[in-house]
């Protein structure tokens, strides 16, 4: 398995893990009554910003740990440079990811139009963002294996 494939697998699992832990923590706070997620949209704004920060920091840590473990296991210290094939694969994966998020966005708008509570939009955004990320990394693995 190439470095890029491993990197994408790590991204999928770290994305799932970070989102699951963060969502669980936020939901517990909601159950305890410390935050109100049904009506207070300012809370959603704050949660999204904290999530972005936590996600970036956690990913950097996971990426460093992955690189160290990979370097020990394969004895290759250098991260392979991105070449034209990597760039094409990344572009195609980003396209798939954007399509997925667009579908999620439209789903959220449809939910709003048919009378769902506004907070449902934020949940759909989070879920579609996560699925879009999985599609992005999954597409990359697919293109690396099957070819472009």
């Amino acid at each position: 398995m190439s470095y890029r494939e491993k990197e994408n697998i790590i991204n999928i699992f770290s994305g799932l893990l970070i989102t699951a832990i963060f969502a669980w923590a936020v939901y517990q706070r909601h159950l305890d009554g410390r935050i109100d997620l049904t009506d207070d949209f300012q809370q959603w704004g704050i949660i999204f910003l904290i999530y972005a920060g936590v996600s970036i920091v956690a990913r950097i840590i996971i990426y460093i740990v992955f690189h160290i473990i990979n370097a020990i296991a394969t004895r290759e210290e250098k991260i392979p440079e991105e070449d034209e094939r990597d760039k094409i694969i990344k572009l195609k994966a980003t396209r798939n990811s954007h399509y997925t998020f667009s579908i999620g966005f439209m789903t959220a708008i449809i939910y709003l139009a048919i009378g769902f509570a506004p907070y449902v939009i934020f949940i759909v955004f989070v879920v579609s963002g996560l699925i879009a990320e999985i599609i992005d990394n999954g597409s990359q693995i697919y293109y690396y294996r099957k070819g472009v």
């Binding site: 190439s2 890029r4 440079e81 070449d83 034209e84 094939r85 990597d86 690396y144 099957k146 070819g147």
Partner: protein, 79 residues
């Protein structure tokens, strides 16, 4: 227009070039070894620039390294 596909003789040319490894070819053309593997297997069609770099490495004309053949020919060969 009939559908065509790109085939290559990189594996044979590497063998002729004193059994050049995929890594050596990758280093000379500035791409990763995985990209060379993908090109050899026909899973990736390189850009024109990379195709010329590969041809220059082997000191052969481009059409000797890459050929653009009708898809039916490759399907028949696979059978």
């Amino acid at each position: 227009m009939p559908k065509r596909t790109i085939q290559n003789n990189i594996r044979r040319l590497r063998f002729d070039a004193d059994e050049m490894t995929q890594q050596e070819l990758a280093d000379k053309t500035g791409v990763s070894r995985q990209t060379i593997v993908a090109i050899e297997k026909g899973k990736y069609s390189p850009s024109l620039e990379l195709a010329f770099k590969i041809a220059l490495t082997f000191e052969r004309p481009l059409e000797e390294v890459f050929t653009y053949v009708p898809e039916e020919t490759t399907t028949k060969k696979k059978k």
